[in-house]
Assembly symmetry: C2
Homo-oligomer: 160 residues x 2
DNA sequence: ATCATCCCGTTGCGGATGAAACGAACCGCC
DNA sequence: GGCGGTTCGTTTCATCCGCAACGGGATGAT
């Protein structure tokens, strides 16, 4: 078997190459990591969102959410508050600076993505979209459990 | 814009989820990292291969090749020798243990991959394959340069 | 032959990452 | 209302990772 023709490898390389292009945009131009980018994306879209919702809507574990949110807060892009209903949780909101910066970053990222996708034939784009959607369904259908989830936290320990 | 419907995000999540499934196989069952897996794949396919060729045929930089190769050597899966033609280079060969272990690991990984892909409709599989291929071409066509390459090493420094 | 320059692999180091420990807060039951 | 079990977010620690410096080795000009 040839590595270059092994499908999982090709998929990983192509996806990673595409991703790198976008990371380069919001990374170099706006100093955001991939996780910060995703959180900012969600928070800006929701206006106000709880930590639970954040973890549920991303593939990120709670550790990653904590750290990315801390950095975003230091950069004045979001604010964090403790809801009085449940003081274990956190509620995040985007600031005006954050909203402005995200809008700019999004435009640039989207432009770069469109540039790449625009270089594809429309039928190829449609095929990619369809294939990715189907792949995601297949993964969800056949993944045993927990391989995707970072933080199952199955309990402290079974007592002897 | 909704994160979940943003195409770059969907692509990244799907590709990563698929990849995780395979990493779980050769990682947990055979103690290999992704980079070790790829190197072993190439070395086994070539029988004997130089460090230059390795870096060229992967997306790995020289640092990653060095370290992954060191670990593979410690695990007795490959051997390293210095060619007398150019003593800066390294030539890698796979050992018998390495070849055996890789064959087993490959079977398992391939089985897992086939299980997932087999859960897709044949037309969806074809669409995915076509889309990925086209995406890779589009990325190559529009990526300025060096965003993909880890080690351009543009020279020591510009003298004042 | 000598020396400057370039090429290649390795290593040191600072920052990032993930798993597991930790502590605060809630919930149900008595 | 107190207490075990549970759910969160944070911290800790060991590891990983990439960048930049390093050193051995080749190459070409003088």
């Amino acid at each position: 078997m040839q590595l270059e023709t092994f499908f999982p490898y090709r998929l990983a390389v192509a996806a990673e190459a595409f991703s790198r292009n976008l990371v380069a945009v919001y990374g170099q131009n706006y100093g955001l990591t991939r996780e910060e980018w995703r959180l900012l994306f969600l928070i800006e879209g929701a206006g106000r969102i709880s930590s639970l919702e954040l973890a549920r809507r991303t593939t990120l574990g709670k550790v990653q959410v904590t750290r990315a949110a801390q950095r975003l807060e230091e950069k004045q892009m979001i604010t964090r508050r403790v809801p009085k209903a449940d003081r274990r949780l956190r509620e995040y909101s985007i600031t005006e600076e954050g909203r402005t910066l995200f809008a700019q970053a999004f435009d640039e990222v989207n432009a770069r993505a469109s540039e790449i996708l625009g270089a594809m034939a429309p039928e190829d784009r449609a095929a990619l979209d369809r294939g990715i959607e189907a792949l995601m369904r297949a993964v969800r259908a056949t993944t045993p459990e927990g391989v995707l989830a970072p933080d199952p936290e199955g309990g402290p320990e079974v007592g002897a």
